[in-house]
């Protein structure tokens, strides 16, 4: 029925070449999230983007959660790269925490993707390994090193969740929500918040992050 000179492999690659492997699916899923946000990432939309039926995805991912975990794992690529030589441990921690924040910020809703999953892939484990390694050199008890690593990760995720929530309140919603907050901040009822409003609504998230991280790292010295 088809042209006789068309080999079966050429037929397979008619239109787009068949893209269905786990890595292509994960990359495409991250692209869809970047374009339209996490809420728009649907197994059906992903399948369509891969030129495949929705059910086919379940041959590669047991569930949507599994896909999300693979996306989180992919996002952390590079976070455990070797640290520059000669960095003080304080700066090593700042660098590592900053890498996690940057990795989450690289994709729209990245923190939400990460917070909802538990990857045990190499990117995630190497990152944790590196972070705990730096902390074991400076923490008295080994338990404290582990707990401090968790503290840094939880703070970073919590912070970035908030940062991206503010980001994704797009053009029209952000001013509205600021106005709402401003209206709610009656200086008689909430004198401290009224005084804090400028800082609270500042978009200098890097400064907020640096402040919190510095608190944690400083606490390590003294505690």
């Amino acid at each position: 029925m088809g042209p006789t000179s068309t080999s079966s492999s050429a037929q397979r690659s008619r239109g787009r070449p068949r893209k269905m492997g786990v890595p292509e699916a994960v990359a495409t899923a991250l692209r869809l999230v970047d374009e339209d946000g996490l809420d728009a990432l649907t197994m059906r939309r992903l399948a369509a983007a891969l030129d495949v039926q929705a059910g086919t995805l379940y041959r590669h991912f047991a569930t949507k959660q599994t896909l999300l975990a693979a996306m989180a794992e992919e996002m952390l690529a590079g976070c455990a790269d070797p640290l520059p030589d000669g960095l003080a441990w304080r700066d090593q921690l700042t660098e590592l925490a900053g890498r996690l924040r940057t990795a989450l910020l690289r994709h729209r809703d990245g923190a939400r993707v990460y917070a909802g999953t538990h990857s045990v892939g190499p990117n995630t484990l190497n990152y944790a390994e590196t972070l705990v390694g730096v902390l074991r050199e400076t923490c008295p008890a080994p338990e404290a090193a582990t707990r401090t690593a968790l503290t840094i990760i939880h703070f970073t995720v919590g912070h970035t969740l908030e940062e991206q929530a503010a980001q994704s309140l797009a053009g029209s919603e952000l001013p509205a929500s600021l106005t709402l907050l401003h209206a709610a901040l009656d200086p008689d009822a909430y004198p401290n918040l009224a005084a804090a409003e400028a800082t609270l609504t500042s978009t200098d998230f890097a400064a907020h992050f640096a402040h919190g991280l510095n608190l944690i790292i400083t606490g390590l010295t003294t505690g």
Copy 2:
């Protein structure tokens, strides 16, 4: 057709009395979340629990997000109650952060509900007001007080998100995920994590939380 002696008001209260006010809807929504988790909270299931059509909810909540914000606001009730007299500022901060954690833990998936919303209701604002108030007494710059309040809140939310994620890996999934993690933790590839495994998989979340919070509060003294 109906019994002649049945007044219309008696008919209205046949079965359950008509429960449709924002407070009842929020309370019922929190009950549904406690029973079956956040993923099972559906506008349609909530409507059914309130003996109402799904569309009716949209007369009280513009969107599901609005409902979730109202739930988050309700969860924070009591968090801004007056602090006991004579507490050192360190203990005031510990108390306030602990109240937020407890409030989030009180409901299944409480941290996820909270993290996905931005309430400007009185419970939320009074809590922030109180927290910033305590910090302004001890922080040099007013900017630092605000940023530290954000740090404490972000850490608490990030921590509790993780705590409840571990909790909701119910009976059969938890052992499976621990086995998976254990298998992944090759001591040659991840020596630090292998050494940290006991702490990493500990369920003493209160101790983890206390450690992280203490780091932040200690950092405040020195910074």
